[in-house]
Amino acid sequence: MFELSTHIPGPKQLHEIDLTAYDALYLGDFTCPLYPGNFSRHIDTLALGVERVKSMGKRCYLSLYAIPKDSDLVWIKELLRGAQGLPLDGVEVHNMGLLETVREILGDIPIHLGVFGNLYTHETARVLKGYGVERVFPNAELSLEELIYIRDNSPVQVVVPVHGKIPLAISGTCFVTDYTGQVPTNCEESCSQGHWLTHEDWQLKSIGRANLSGKDLCMLEYLDRLIRSDLNLFYIYTLGETGTYVETIGKIYREALHKAQSGEESCTERWLDQSRSLSQSGLCNGFYFGVSGQEYLSPHALSQTA
């Protein structure tokens, strides 16, 4: 069995998007506490969100702000205290300062280390296990080989992002307000727009406090290899995407993973075309094959270079 998960930042997405493709949802936008309706900022919103996710029969994780300053720790602790008793299946933490705080307030709830937790080695995974970390998103720069090494040589589960725009950088301030000089009338309006950064043929997407890859990570052609490697926790990056994107990509991967698991022939070409049609800048393999993150290698090209 596998688990397919993604982040859902707020109630709007949770109510408006068809999320049947996903087995588990991380509630909250870990990049910005000011994101409109952010599940990981307001306990009332979170409580209703958790109730809805559980009623859908899915696993539900809370995702905490990735780079809290001391002043942020105050409201994060309040949020965690409010979350006591909620049927959460885990808490995603990107910041080492929050590890003990989560355990103090929520007991031995499983902790998932987020992508900005900078996990590169199995030795780090071993240390973090002692702090309650059960599952890790390795740093995006790691190759598939390194992910598998960490899985095989540490006591944690390893999540494998398979699609979407890779988080590349994060800040404590917002690109939109700081750099454009245009103070948005409200974050709702600003965050509903797509912000792109371009330099010659380079492209990045900004979601305010974080920069994402311009191209979409796509591992459709490699799912059989991932399944053969006994990887089973798959994740799709969807922060900043439209409802159509979240639904369509989720359904493609749900079906593709089922087929890969059962050894059935897949419809890779059709799925790739659908994925390309949803990507503004094309597809890439991220850092999985030891080259720069924006390249796309077909399995044929990869076997030639291997």
Partner: protein, 318 residues
């Protein structure tokens, strides 16, 4: 009294900063620091430097702050063992697992948590201290109030950069950025089996400064006027130095392993005088006396930064 740490990006720079008054020189070693090999020393150079520093009663810190691959951790420990044997008393490290291994194998060594760890709050400082870190290097987005708060709550030595960003962080946190390797990466193994990732500061190659190229922005097809750098550039500072001394900062760190030997030597000489004078004279007098000299150094710093960024960006585009 706070110690002055200075960079040794080249053999010549390393020796000259000691002569200019640094208490400690920090050096990257090939493949293991967040700068490219242009500004790292060979093992033989580190050994010579250790002997010279020891003769002057000074210290050498070795920067091993890349995020290693899992399989490189034993090689990192081997390196620590060798450098410690030559008299290196402290290491700057980013990876948590490596840090714990180094502490376990070398209980008497000073471990500095590198800026590459990307700390953001006092609880995180405590986390690293509990794991055995002796010194924590604070990111330059933390201010004097953060220093005071940490010093009040945790018995840990603090190291701060002698430069700071003003107001804006930019959309890059030090130690939490992979934009450079997303656009450009080159990987090879050296004779010891060290895996180089040129294009990734995190993994042992230079950051190629793609944040500085002048990005054009659009919001839903609407262009936004201007070109934007994605990271605030820190500037050398003077005014706040006295406050940091009083707050109990243990190490002041001169940046610049990738700057010219002459500029770094002059900056170290400058801060040596300032730190010493602050012990004797009122802050206002010291600041007034040294402000013009700082302005000249800032100009040279900015000019060298532009040249460096252009050079690295050109490599990213090659």
């Amino acid at each position: 009294m706070a110690k002055l740490m200075a960079p040794g990006g080249t053999r010549r720079m390393a020796f000259s900063v000691l002569e200019a008054g640094a208490d400690t020189v920090y050096v990257g070693v090939r493949g293991w620091s967040r700068r490219g090999s242009d500004t790292e020393l060979t093992d033989a150079e580190v050994r010579d430097l250790c002997a010279a520093a020891r003769a002057q009663g000074k210290h050498v810190r070795v920067v091993l702050n890349t995020m290693p691959s899992s399989e490189e951790v034993p090689l990192l420990l081997k390196k620590v063992d060798m450098y410690a044997g030559w008299g290196v008393s402290g290491f700057m490290i980013s990876d948590i697992g490596s840090m714990v291994q180094v502490r376990s194998h070398f209980p008497d060594i000073t471990i500095h948590v590198s800026v590459g760890a990307g700390l953001s709050n006092a609880l995180e400082v405590r986390f690293y201290h509990d794991l055995g870190a002796s010194v924590v290097i604070l990111p330059y987005r933390m201010g004097i109030e953060d220093v005071r708060a940490i010093k009040r709550s945790i018995d840990v030595s603090l190291e701060v950069f002698l430069f700071r960003t003003e107001n804006l962080d930019g959309i890059v946190c030090p130690g939490k950025c992979t934009m450079s390797s997303y656009f450009s990466s080159n990987r090879w193994l050296d004779h010891e089996g060290k895996d180089y990732f040129y294009g990734s500061a995190n993994r042992g190659g230079d950051c190629l400064r793609v944040c500085q190229v002048g990005w054009e922005a659009t919001a839903d097809e609407r262009e936004i006027d201007g070109k934007f750098g994605l990271k605030g550039n820190p500037k050398l500072w003077l005014q706040e130095l006295s406050d940091y001394v009083q707050a109990g900062v243990d190490y002041f760190k001169v940046p610049g392993r990738d700057r010219s030997d002459e500029l770094v030597r002059d900056i170290v000489r400058f801060y040596r005088k300032v730190v010493d004078d602050l012990e004797t004279f009122p802050t206002d007098e010291v600041v007034t006396q040294y402000a013009p000299e700082l302005e000249e150094l800032k100009k040279r710093w900015a000019s060298e930064r532009r040249r460096r960024d252009d050079r690295l960006v050109a490599r990213a585009k090659a």
